[in-house]
Amino acid sequence: MGFLARISCRFWIIAVLATAMVVAVAHVRPPEGQFGTGLSREKFWLVKLRAPATYDLVLAGDSRTLCDLDPASMEQVLRRQRVLNFGFNVVALTPDYLQAAADKLDPSSAMRTLLIGITPRALTPVNAKLSGYDEEKNRDWDEKVFNWAMDPVNSPLRPIMPAAMLQYVLGTRVSYKDFFPNGWMSVSLRPADSTADLGVYRRIFVRNQISPKMYDAFLGKVRQLAASGIRVRVVRLPIAPGLFDQEETKSGFDEQALIRDLHANGAEWVASPPGPWVITDGSHIDAASAPEYSRRLAERLAPARILAATIGQ
């Protein structure tokens, strides 16, 4: 046995072998993103939460807002406006969250606008319970410090299911997520599959419809923000037809009633730019298509003079 009898030797052999295996897996695994933004998922949330109050337009909402709206593309249209994507996964449009989004607006800006990407899910109790915003906000400080410090290895050491690894190696399916400092998280599923999230949408509204209490609280907060001088605008971002049907039939969402209620509370409804858009997984616009969608949406937000100037360029 020789040196193998010594525990310290065994410990070091395990450490060396494990390190070799980890490096090998990290090397062959699918990369998390395709654009090399230099920002890991963990640091991305920290950057977003700690964003200063220097923006003219803040985009608030759940993963559809998070993935569909690219602030850089919107800034190209909305000249001189600083845009932040404050979207989070599985977020609920609670007063607390909306206030946090509004707090990112520059108090001295004359164009303070909050654009809310509304989805039926964002007004359901399950989203309130599993809110990604709350999760990131309430993360322990030691974990935040660790995430910040370990930024370079966070992505390569991310968990990966064996099936996903196999699909990547065989080239049958791979998904990418890129994290941008302006709060946009781009997603891409290769090949695109507009039914990928259908199973989730079939389940999500089971015993989990829009909560009247949350709905009222949302309108109340909208009214309060509008009264404070913030321009509140609301848009329903696109999804694949199968998922849209689930929202329409099972969630208890009534778009026309919402539009009326929003107007009554000082907010404006913005119609989503017509597609077709590449909905990569059924509920999020593909990374390649999201900038164009963002520009088209920004055109609908822009005051006429800015738009004319932009088009004129």
Partner: protein
């Protein structure tokens, strides 16, 4: 502080870095353990450290008083029991008792008169209360001499590896170990490493990956398509709680070994039991043996006739259920086990079944099914929910399995791991020892790699809530 948190890694490194120097003299060793353990506990909420100290001091002083005044030791024990069970009752059961009393009053048209205050339950209170209780009870019985040093006492009661989720270490077992300067042996270090690796694998890979699927189902977000779905979901919960809790116990035992101490076994492959009685000798052994020694046997055990034996067993199981949580679902969980145990005692079906071909496998499956039905009540938020799920399990409507493949994969992995560890083949003669050891080291490297890449979303250990 959670074993599966990053801060614990820093904590453990700091602890073991200076442990070889700290353990050399008695007071330094005990003080070192106490300081680190209080820090470990206080990381969650430092205010509750004072509760731990307060209840512990009552038992420490009760121990000394019983030695000094043996003629009053019964009264002193009562004070200790009242302090410990009173604290446990106040934090854990006051809202439950108040709501039930109020409900009963409402049934007689009397308005609610007890306030239902939902208190934050101090982490691990049920564990350290039982650990502390064993100290005074053992002194009362003359099985243990009280320690005169509070540091010695608190080092045993609050030692961080077992403090918040067991194994429930009795003072009589731990106090003598803490009196010795125990340098961990080579075997202990190696065994400790194995236990910690397996513990993290069970918790991070199996339990944490099964948790979201189980939670989704019990939160009403998953609509099971068939009875097969429900059985698989309950099996998933069974493996989640087993891997979660036994994983914690393994890590605790491994850390203790690195310190040079020995903690008792808490799990011995319970799902491979072929009778429910055997299951209870393999599941949460430190708790079941605590109840056996401090409740069941003092009640008379099975010595006072068969009927009394059943009654004592029922009392013990109901108390065990209540120990887990202040809800009727936990009491019913205990009652279901008691009911199945009574049937087993009367019919002796496991012995009879095992005589048949494949009888052992049939007995194992039947025990698993009984445990699974009981788990439904353990996991459910209400009796109504539990009954709905049990109905789903026994409504033979369809065979379709609609559960996610991820969940099935990790359930399969949990079962395969359990069977492999139980039937681990011995080294064949032709394989050189050196090669076999290298193979084992490679295996543990794979376990570490799996903990990194197959880890689920980190969550607290289930038994922390108890």
């Amino acid at each position: 502080m959670l074993f599966n948190s990053r801060i614990f890694v820093v904590f453990a490194i700091a602890f073991f870095l200076f442990w070889p120097f700290a353990r050399r003299t008695l007071n330094r060793r005990w003080a070192y353990i106490v300081v680190f353990s209080f820090f470990f506990y206080g990381w969650w909420d430092w205010r509750y450290v004072f509760l731990l100290i307060g209840t512990g001091m009552v038992d420490f002083l009760a121990g000394l008083a019983m030695e000094r005044r043996p003629e009053q030791k019964r009264a002193i024990l009562m004070v200790s029991l009242a302090a410990n069970l009173g604290t446990l009752g106040f934090f854990k059961y006051s809202a439950f008792i108040a709501s039930n009393v109020n409900a009963l009053a409402a049934a007689f048209n009397v308005s609610s008169f007890l306030p239902e205050i939902a208190l934050t339950l101090p982490v691990g209170i049920s564990f350290y209360t039982f650990q502390s209780l064993s100290y005074t009870i053992d002194i009362y019985r003359g099985h243990l001499k009280p320690t005169r040093n509070p540091l010695h006492f608190f080092a045993a009661i609050s030692m961080f590896p077992h403090l918040v989720a067991g194994p429930i270490m009795r003072a009589a077992v731990l106090l003598p170990q803490l009196e010795e300067d125990r340098r961990p042996t080579r075997g202990q270090l190696w065994m400790g490493l194995q236990l910690i690796a397996h513990g993290f694998f069970k918790k991070m890979v199996i339990a944490d990956n099964l948790a979201p699927i189980v939670n989704e189902a019990w939160n009403g977000q998953f609509v099971a398509a068939s009875f097969a779905d429900w059985w698989l979901l309950v099996m998933m919960f069974g493996f989640q709680i087993y891997c979660d809790f036994s994983g914690y116990s393994d890590i605790a035992r491994g850390l203790a070994k690195w310190m040079g101490y020995e903690f008792s076994f808490n799990f011995k492959h319970p799902y491979l039991s072929t009778s429910l009685r055997e299951f209870w000798t393999r599941w949460h052994i430190s708790l079941s043996s605590w109840f056996r020694d401090y409740v069941y046997i003092p009640l008379g055990g099975a010595r006072r006739g068969e009927l009394r034996g059943h009654l004592n067993m029922w009392i013990t199981m109901l108390l065990s259920g209540l120990w887990h949580g202040a809800a009727w679902t936990f009491v019913i969980w205990g009652a279901i086990h008691a009911f199945f145990l009574s049937i087993e005692r009367i019919t002796r079906w496991p012995e009879r079944l095992r005589r048949f071909p494949f009888g052992r496998a049939a007995a194992l499956s039947f025990v698993m099914a009984q445990v699974a039905v009981a788990w439904v009540f353990f996991r459910s938020a209400s009796l109504h929910q539990a009954l709905e799920i049990v109905r789903g399990m026994f409504t033979l409507n369809a065979f379709a399995v609609t559960l996610s493949r991820t969940g099935l994969f990790f359930l399969g992995l949990g079962i395969a791991r359990e069977v492999y560890v139980w039937h681990r083949p011995e080294r064949p003669q032709w394989l050189p020892l050196r090669t076999a050891v290298m193979g084992e080291l490679a295996w543990y490297a794979c376990v570490v790699t799996a903990c990194i890449f197959l880890r689920g979303a980190g969550s607290a250990f289930i038994y922390f809530q108890f």
